[in-house]
Subunit: 312 residues, 4 copies
C-alpha cells in the first residue's frame, strides 16, 4: 500500500484523463477561458441585484513576513513635501509599485505558461518558449480583455462548521459536494470556482505562518477529475488551491497546479482574500455572483497581480 | 482682453463653484465615488445583454518611447530555461512587474491625493499628508473594493466626423452635448464618463508623439461646471482629460486635474485605450455599459495601474 | 543608579562634546572626509607592497533571510536563451540590479544625511532637506570621487582570543587599545577604522540571525570620545558599529550612528565582510592598508552599496 | 574592394588570432585580469605621489534622455518628512537604487558573459550558461575582490588637438601610438587602458545625442591585434570602445566587444567620464595612475555599475 495518496503512475493517469489539449485548437492559448461564453457572461450579470462590490484581494504586501519573504515595492517618486514650493505650477505626487507577484501573499492570476509538466505547458508548447525576455506562448495576454463570468464560492471552512481549516487539511470531493448542497449552489460549466479555507480568518487571529513549512489547506488531488467534469473556467483559493504539504508522489509536488493549469488549461487565482466575500454571500444568502478579474496587460507575463471584484 | 481662456480669477471662481468638500462628511476620502449607489450599480449591471468584455487599457509600456520616457519594468525571475533540469520537482516560471504609473502611456487611476491646489487635496487634507512613505489621506484605498458603475463613452472624434482630434484640440460643452445627442445617450449622476479623442487611432497611424511638447486633445475648462452639474463619479480619457497645451493662466496649468480631482473629488482614468470600446459601442449601438475598474490594493498609493473592463 | 550605560543627559553631553559642526565651514557636507588629506592618502598608498587586493563586502543579498528581510533584486533583462537565434547580430546579455541598501545584510556606506538628531543632520542642515525626491544636503555625492585612505582593522574577536564576539557584546575603549597594542598599530587622524567582531565567522558556522532581535556586537558609547580624539575619517564594521541591543537611554537608541554620523560627520560602512581582511592582515602581519571605497554617484542618495577594496 | 573595413572572413581571422582561450586554464573565468600580477599592482601603487583621487564615472542617470532611454531608479524609502515626529527614536532616511546598467549612459563593467560569438563566451562556455536566473559562468564575480592596477589614459581628442572627436570617428593604431608618444607613456602588459574621445566635453557643450543613431567615436577594429599584443588587462572608454556606426561586416557589428571580451577575455568599462581624469593627467603631466574598480558582488551578474577611482 502506497503511503502517498496516489502513486506517480496514478497521478499521471489523472493528468492524462483531464487534458484539454487541442480542444479549442492547437494554437489556443486561452484554455478553459473558452468556457466562459457570452451567454454565460450575460447570465452572470443578470444575477446582479444588490449592487454591492466585494474585493477578493489582499492588500499588496509591502512588508516582509514569514509568509511573504519577497515583499512588493511601493515607493514615492514625489511626495507632498515636494509640492509645497510657492509658484510650483502643477503640484502632484507620484509613486512606483512593483512586485514579483508569484508567491504566497500577493493575490494574483497564474497564466498558463506558469507551470510545466514534462517540459511542456498547456496545449503542448515547450517550456523554452518562456524566454528570459518573456513568454512567447501562454502568457497572461490571453486574458487581456478581462475575465468576467459567474463566480461561485464554496466555503469549506463554513461547511465544516469551523472558522478555518487547519494548514495541511485536504479538501475532498465530498467536501465540495457537501458545500454545494449546504449552500444551495451547483458548480457548472464555465464557472469561476473559489475555494474558501478560512486562511484570512486564521491569519487575523494568530498571525501569518510559513506556507511551505507549516502548510496550507487545499484541494486533494482526487478533486481533479471532478473539477474537469464540472468544466470550471478558472480556479481560485485563499491559499494556492494545492494542499501543502500533501502526500504527493515525487513527480507531482503540486498536483492541482500541474493538472489544472497544464492539462486542463485553467487559470488559477492564488492568495485571494475570501472572508469578506464569504460574509457577503452569507448575508445575501447567495453563493454565486458576477466576478471580474482584470489582469494588467503584460506582454509575455506569467500572470498578473489582480484585485478580483465580485458584484452582487 | 485676456489671451487665456480664463483668467486666474475666473478659474478660481470655477474651482470654488464645483467644490464637493464636506458633501459626504469632513473625513470622506472617496469623493464622487459616493455617487455610485448600489441602485445605480445594479441598474448598470442590468444593462448587460451581449456578454462581451472590452478592455479600456493599453499594454503596459515596457519600451521607452517619446510619449513614455519612464517605461514599466517586466523581467523574469525564472524562465523556461531553468525549468528543463531533470528531476526538478515543480517546474514553474515567474516574473516581476513594476511601474511608475503616472505618466503618459500607462493606463491608470489617479487617486485623490495625486493633485493639490493651495497645498490641499480633496476635502482639505494638507499636501504634507502624502509622506515619503505613502499617502495618509486620499489614497487609492478608497477604491479598494473596485469601482463598478455605468460607463458612458462620448466619442468626440466620431462626433466630429474625424478619425482623431488633433493634439491640442479643446473639447467644449457643445461637443459633449452634440455627442450625447448623436449617440443617443445622456450623462447622468454617478456615471463614469469616458472621453474619446482618437489618440490610439492617431498613434497607430503615425506613431507616438510627445504629449507635453506636441499636445493632447482634451476638455476645455468650460466643461468643468457641466461635469459637476451632471454629477459624474469618475472621468476617463484616452489622453489625460486636460487639453495640452491649453490657453491656461499661470496658476491653472491643468485645470481638469485641478478642479475635477481636488474640488469635485473625482478620480481620473488616464491614458486609456478607447478605440476598441468605440468600435464595440458602434457595433452594439449602445454607448453605455457596465464598467469595472479594479485598482491594486496599494496602501498609501497615489493611484494604480489598471485595466478597466467594459461589459456589454 | 541608572540601569543604562549613560543617561539621556550624559549622552547629550557626549554628543555635544564631539561635534565637528562648522569645523570645515558652515556649508561643508563632507565632514570628517576632510581629514583624509592628500598627504595621508599618498602615505597610505606608499604602504602598499604585496600587491594583494581584498574585498571587504558581502555578496549582494538577493535571498531573503532572517537578517535580510529586504533582499536585493537581480534579474536578467536578457539571458543566453535569447542569444542563440541564428543571424542575431550582436549576442549580448544584460541584467538589472537594485537594492534598498540600508539594512542588515548589504555592505554599504551611510551618507551624512542618513541620520538626524533633533531633526538635524551633520552641520545643522534640517531633516526636511531630505526630500521625497532625494537629499538636497548631506548626500553621498560628497564622496563622489571615492574615498581612499589608510585603513586600519582592529580585530576585536581575535584580540579577545575568540572566533567571534557574541551578539550584544559591547566593545570598550580598553578593547580598542588592547587591539592596537596587540596588533602593533595606532589609529591616527584621517584613518578609516574598521572594527572586526567576527560576525561572518559566526554566520558561516551557525547561520544568520535576526540582528534587531538577537543582537550584534558593536561599540560601547564610551568609545565615542575616543573616536573623536583619534580623528577617524570613516568608521566601518562587520556589524553596524552600534551594539544591539545596548543599554541605551530612550533618546539614544543607536548612539554610534547618532554621534558619529551627526555630530562628528563621519561616514559609516555597515555590514562589511571582514574575515578575509583579517586573515590577510594576519598573514601579512600588517593591520593597515590602502582602502578605497567607491560609492555610486547617486545624486541625492542617502548612501550607496559598496565593495570597499583593501590593497596591501 | 570591400566597402567594409574588414570582410567577415578577415574579422574572423582577427578574432581567432587574439584568442586567449585556455591560456589560464580551461576553467578560467577571469581572463586577462590574470595579467594584473601582484608585482604590477604594487608597482602601480608605488607611482602614487600626489594623493589625489579622480572618479572616472558619470552620475547615475536617473533622468531619461536621448542617450539614456532606460534611466536608473532612485527613490526614497523614507525621507526627512517622516523623521520629524516627536519621540520617533532613531530618525533615519533610506532609499532604493536600481539600474539596468548595460546601456549608453551608466558607467559600468562588462563581465565576460556579456557577449557571445558563435553562441560561446570567453573560454568556450556556452551562451546557455547565462540562465534566466543568472550567469553560471563568466559572471562579474571573477572581479569580486576588485580590480586594481596601473591605469593609462590615452586622450585621443587631445592628441588630435580637438576638444572632442566627432561621433563615428575611428581611432587607429597610429592614433594610439601617437598618443603614447605625445603623452610619454607606453601601454604595457597588465595595464588598464582608458581611451578618451571627448564625449563628455561634447555632451556638456551641445547636449546628449543618440549613440546608436548618431554615433560614437571608438576604436577601429585594426587596433584589436595591437591591444592583444600589448597585453592589456581591461579596456575602458568614455564611449563603448567600439566605433558606432562602423563599416563593419554583417557578423561583426561590434568587433571590439566581440573580439576583446570574447576572444581576449578582457573586461570592458563603458560610458566612463574621462574629462576630469584628462585634466588631472595634464596637470600632473602623468598619464598613468593607480586605478581601482570595485564591482558590486552580484552573483551571476553580467557586469556591475561602477565608479572607477584613479589615484595619483
Amino acid at each position: 500500500m502506497s503511503d502517498t495518496w496516489f502513486s506517480n503512475d496514478e497521478m499521471r493517469a489523472i493528468y492524462e484523463s483531464v487534458k484539454n489539449w487541442g480542444r479549442w485548437g492547437h494554437d489556443d492559448e486561452a484554455g478553459a477561458l473558452n468556457l466562459i461564453t457570452p451567454e454565460r457572461r450575460a447570465a452572470a450579470a443578470a444575477e446582479v441585484s444588490a449592487g454591492i462590490t466585494v474585493s477578493c484581494a489582499r492588500e499588496l504586501p509591502v512588508t516582509p513576513s514569514i509568509e511573504n519573504p519577497h515583499p512588493a515595492m511601493h515607493m514615492m517618486v514625489r511626495g507632498g513635501d515636494d509640492c509645497v514650493t510657492p509658484g510650483l505650477g502643477l503640484a502632484s505626487t507620484a509613486d512606483f509599485v512593483g512586485v514579483a507577484f508569484h508567491g504566497m501573499a500577493t493575490s494574483h492570476v497564474d497564466a498558463l505558461c506558469h507551470i510545466f509538466v514534462d517540459e511542456q505547458m498547456y496545449n503542448g508548447f515547450p517550456a523554452t518558449d518562456v524566454k528570459s525576455t518573456g513568454a512567447q506562448r501562454g502568457s497572461i495576454m490571453c486574458a487581456k480583455d478581462g475575465i468576467a463570468g459567474r463566480g461561485v464560492l464554496l466555503d469549506i471552512a463554513r461547511q465544516r462548521g469551523q472558522g478555518h481549516l487547519e494548514p495541511g487539511t485536504a479538501i475532498t470531493v465530498a467536501d465540495l459536494e457537501a458545500a454545494e448542497a449546504g449552500q444551495g449552489v451547483t458548480v457548472g460549466e464555465g464557472d469561476i470556482l473559489l475555494i474558501g479555507t478560512g486562511r484570512d480568518t486564521r491569519r487575523d487571529e494568530s498571525g501569518p505562518w510559513h506556507p511551505w513549512r507549516d502548510g496550507l489547506a487545499g484541494l486533494h488531488p482526487e478533486t481533479i477529475p471532478w473539477l474537469h467534469e464540472r468544466g470550471i473556467s478558472v480556479l481560485g483559493c485563499d491559499g494556492v488551491s494545492d494542499v501543502l504539504p500533501g502526500n504527493h508522489p515525487s513527480d507531482w509536488p503540486m498536483p492541482i497546479h500541474q493538472c489544472v493549469i497544464v492539462a486542463m488549461g485553467v487559470h488559477l487565482l492564488d492568495n485571494l482574500r475570501l472572508d469578506r466575500l464569504a460574509t457577503t454571500c452569507a448575508e445575501q444568502n447567495r453563493w454565486s455572483f458576477l466576478l471580474t478579474v482584470a489582469p494588467l496587460r503584460i506582454e509575455g507575463g506569467t500572470g498578473s497581480p489582480a484585485n478580483p471584484i465580485a458584484l452582487f
